[in-house]
């Protein structure tokens, strides 16, 4: 068979057209309607959890739902950026996990109001994590689990050095210095020296806030500069572990003996316990100054519904089923894989795993001292604050002047979001 030039060209043109049409179509994971009699198809997105079994668990929950066909997308990489970009298009998720939503996402009408799902159960959700999901009295996501951060310390190393578990920021600075040896650093606050992960924690420890209840800057106070200045002392004393292969969220540095104390999360507790047995303790970030108090940041991924979903009501019904009605799944998700506090107070109270040892201490710290980043704390405010904190910690920049510049930026941001409201 001879192939003419015309045949080659027409075949190539057909293939190119087909490829173009295929590319235009794309598989969004979202169906156009009912499928197989199981109601509409819903795409549900999760960020990639590190704990084994979590992905299979959420797929099992989705498969058990009878009123819609739910497909789970487990998305590794920069999840927050991925969802933020996907919400601008028609190909995003119907239901998605969100470390927020942010105020701009709410004001930009990118997420659906879920207030009515909470009828009769609102009081059973932890107020600390429900507050940042609430704006103008409306709730924009259902908190799934509570994640909290605190200080792990190695009991034997502290005993060998004659150091007591630090209860004040000054004691923490001194302890970190005393625990630093040729092989082991005193404290690990992340490879950036704590600028990223600590956020408002040192300010809370000094008795201040990021944003006050009436929407003003909460740290325009000399106590803020004093607390941040002490973080520079940790850096200048060379007490901080920096440049570890795994960052603060991973307990590797702590269990490998690279550091005597580490700031990390509740999710790391099973790994630490397995590696060190009872040779560790937990502490909140210690108080600073006479007006200070221990500080424990809490946060929660929430389940939200995209305003661009073609099946908003079906998506809301699924969220209500999974994250409000199916308490057995909620408990399984919180405690069977990683280690988290359930967002429902009733579940947290009855969870056996949270009643003893370090886990019980963490639950107590969280109840007594937990604070969540306020919704008015925008990404632009956070960047300005983190930049300033980084300059204070590493460059020894003057905390007062750095904070003055941050206060200006945050005030402008608060004005901006108020104008949009």
């Amino acid at each position: 068979m001879t192939i003419s030039r015309r045949t080659v060209l027409s075949t190539a043109a057909t293939a190119a057209t087909a490829a173009l049409l295929t590319a235009c179509g794309g598989n969004t994971g979202r169906g156009g309607g009912g499928s197989g009699g199981a109601g509409p198809r819903l795409a549900q997105w999760y960020h990639q959890y590190g704990e084994t079994g979590t992905e299979q668990a959420v797929e099992r929950y989705a498969a058990a739902y009878g009123k819609a066909e739910v497909t789970v997308q487990w998305r590794p990489g920069s999840y927050d950026e991925q969802t933020a970009a996907a919400l601008l298009t028609e190909s995003g998720p119907d239901v998605f996990e969100v470390n927020g939503p942010s105020l701009d996402q709410i004001q930009g009408k990118q997420v659906v109001d879920l207030t009515d799902l909470f009828a009769g159960v609102k009081d059973d959700f932890s107020p600390a994590v429900l507050a940042p999901k609430t704006h103008d009295g409306r709730i924009w996501a259902v908190p799934q689990v509570i994640d909290t951060q605190f200080l792990y310390y190695r009991k034997s190393l502290l005993e060998d050095a004659g150091v007591r578990p630090p209860r004040t920021l000054d004691a923490l600075v001194d302890a970190a210095k005393a625990l630093t040896t040729k092989k082991t650093k005193g404290l690990f606050l992340g490879n950036d020296g704590g600028a990223g992960v600590l956020g408002g924690t040192p300010l809370h420890a000094a008795g201040l806030e990021l944003v006050t209840a009436d929407g003003k800057v909460g740290f325009d106070d000399p106590a803020a500069a004093r607390a941040l200045g002490k973080l520079h002392r940790l850096y200048a004393d060379r007490s901080l572990l920096l440049g570890a292969p795994a960052d603060w969220s991973d307990p590797s540095a702590f269990v490998q003996g690279l550091t005597a104390m580490q700031w990390s999360g509740l999710w790391a507790l099973p790994v630490v316990k397995k590696a060190l047995g009872d040779d560790f303790g937990v502490l909140p970030f210690p108080a600073d100054g006479s007006g200070g108090k221990p500080s424990v940041p809490v946060g929660a991924y929430g389940a939200a519904v995209s305003a661009r979903s073609e099946h908003k009501q079906a998506a809301k019904a699924f969220v209500k089923w999974l994250w409000i009605e199916k308490t057995d799944y909620q408990e399984d998700f919180a405690l069977s894989y990683g280690f988290h506090i359930p967002a429902r107070l009733s579940l947290a109270k009855k969870a056996a795993k949270l009643r003893a040892g370090a886990a019980a201490d963490v639950v107590r710290f969280t109840t007594d001292h937990g604070y969540a980043q306020p919704l008015l704390w925008t990404p632009a405010s956070q960047t300005a604050y983190q930049d300033g904190l980084s300059r204070v910690i590493k460059d020894g920049a003057n905390p007062e002047s750095e904070l003055r510049s941050v206060v200006r930026k945050v005030t402008a941001e608060l004005d901006r979001v108020r104008k949009k409201a």
């Binding site: 015309r6 190119a16 927050d80 950026e81 933020a84 970009a85 919400l87 601008l88 942010s102 701009d104 996402q105 004001q107 930009g108 990118q110 040729k182 092989k183 992340g190 490879n191 950036d192 020296g193 600028a195 990223g196 992960v197 572990l241 920096l242 440049g243 570890a244 292969p245 960052d247 969220s249 540095a253 690279l258 925008t378 990404p379 632009a380 956070q382 960047t383 300005a384 983190q386 930049d387 980084s390 300059r391 590493k394 460059d395 510049s405």
Partner: protein, 310 residues
């Protein structure tokens, strides 16, 4: 039938150059328009609007985004970071790749081997190389390669990417880029060197020129002028595009430190990170594009690019 009659032959025959031009060039022009010029135009449009979490904004702010971006210390600092990086990396890579090319060119026995060895890193991705540098060679703990070697001499462990006084992070950023790109430019210089006629060297020897610096200065470098111009242009453009190694070396889940933050990294966080301020990010992109245009035109004039005698 089409193509066999006279009219068809005129429409589709080889003599209809206009038709075939569009058949072959059209799809690429269409792609260029849809994927480059439309987004570019839309970005310029967005830069005049308050566009938080939207690409179809309605609040016109005029030059507000531009004044905000130019008054933003984080952005202006990122421009200085880039300038410092370019001022260092362009001449260093130029000199290193030229030196490698001269060395390899002189090697008679295993030239292909050395050429391959120096060129091979160019096949490695910036992301992979940056992660190797960050996790293995220059991590800050005692078992990082650099710290292990220094430990043999009794030195303390150094947090290479976290130490700002002295700014050790520059050592990591610069070495990874040198390792990745010096081999590529070496090949360009090698091609240039092999185009130089041996007669010129013979004539120089007859005239009494001493081998080494004198020949390099008066024969080799002038003959490499066109290659050098191309190499410098490519190096400057590459430096402007610096993103991958900075991002992968210095970012973490919580953000990016203010030092060593080139403009593209800052704009990425502004427009595509959690901020999703697409209007402000677009204004920054336009400002950066204008700076690149001015520098490129200035550089082309400086080197008299396009001048036939150049």
């Amino acid at each position: 039938m089409l193509g066999e009659g006279g009219a068809g032959r005129r429409a589709f025959g080889t003599q209809n150059r206009t038709l075939w031009f569009w058949v072959f060039v059209g799809p690429f022009l269409l792609g260029l328009g849809v994927f480059t010029y439309v987004p570019l135009g839309w970005s310029v449009y967005l830069s005049f609007f308050d566009a938080h979490n939207t690409v179809t904004p309605s609040d016109f702010v005029g030059f507000g985004n531009y004044t905000e971006m130019l008054g933003n210390k984080a952005f202006t600092d990122s421009l200085w970071t880039f300038l410092l990086f370019s001022l260092f990396i362009v001449p260093t890579t130029f000199v290193l790749s030229l030196a490698l090319a001269l060395m390899v060119n002189r090697t008679r026995g295993a030239q292909a081997f050395f050429r391959s060895v120096f060129f091979l890193p160019a096949a490695c991705s910036y992301v992979v190389a940056a992660l190797i540098w960050k996790m293995s060679l220059f991590n800050g703990v005692r078992f990082g390669l650099a710290n292990t070697v220094l430990g043999w001499f009794g030195a303390d462990q150094t947090a290479w990417l976290s130490t700002t006084h002295p700014p050790w992070y520059w050592l990591v950023v610069v070495t990874v880029r040198l390792w990745l790109q010096a081999g590529f430019y070496m090949v360009l210089f090698l091609a240039g060197l092999q185009r130089i006629s041996p007669r010129l060297y013979e004539a120089a020897a007859v005239d009494g020129a001493r081998p080494g610096w004198q020949v390099l200065r008066h024969i080799t470098l002038p003959q490499l002028r066109t290659t050098s111009v191309a190499v410098v242009l490519l190096l400057v453009i590459n430096a402007f595009q610096a993103f991958d190694e900075f991002y992968n070396l210095l970012s973490d889940a919580r953000g990016y430190p203010p030092y060593a933050r080139p403009p593209l990294v800052y704009l990425y966080y502004t427009a595509l990170g959690q901020g999703q301020n697409l209007g402000l990010g677009s204004a920054g992109a336009v400002i950066l594009a204008l700076i690149i245009a001015v520098v490129t035109v200035g550089q082309a004039r400086w080197f008299s690019l396009g001048n036939k005698e150049g």
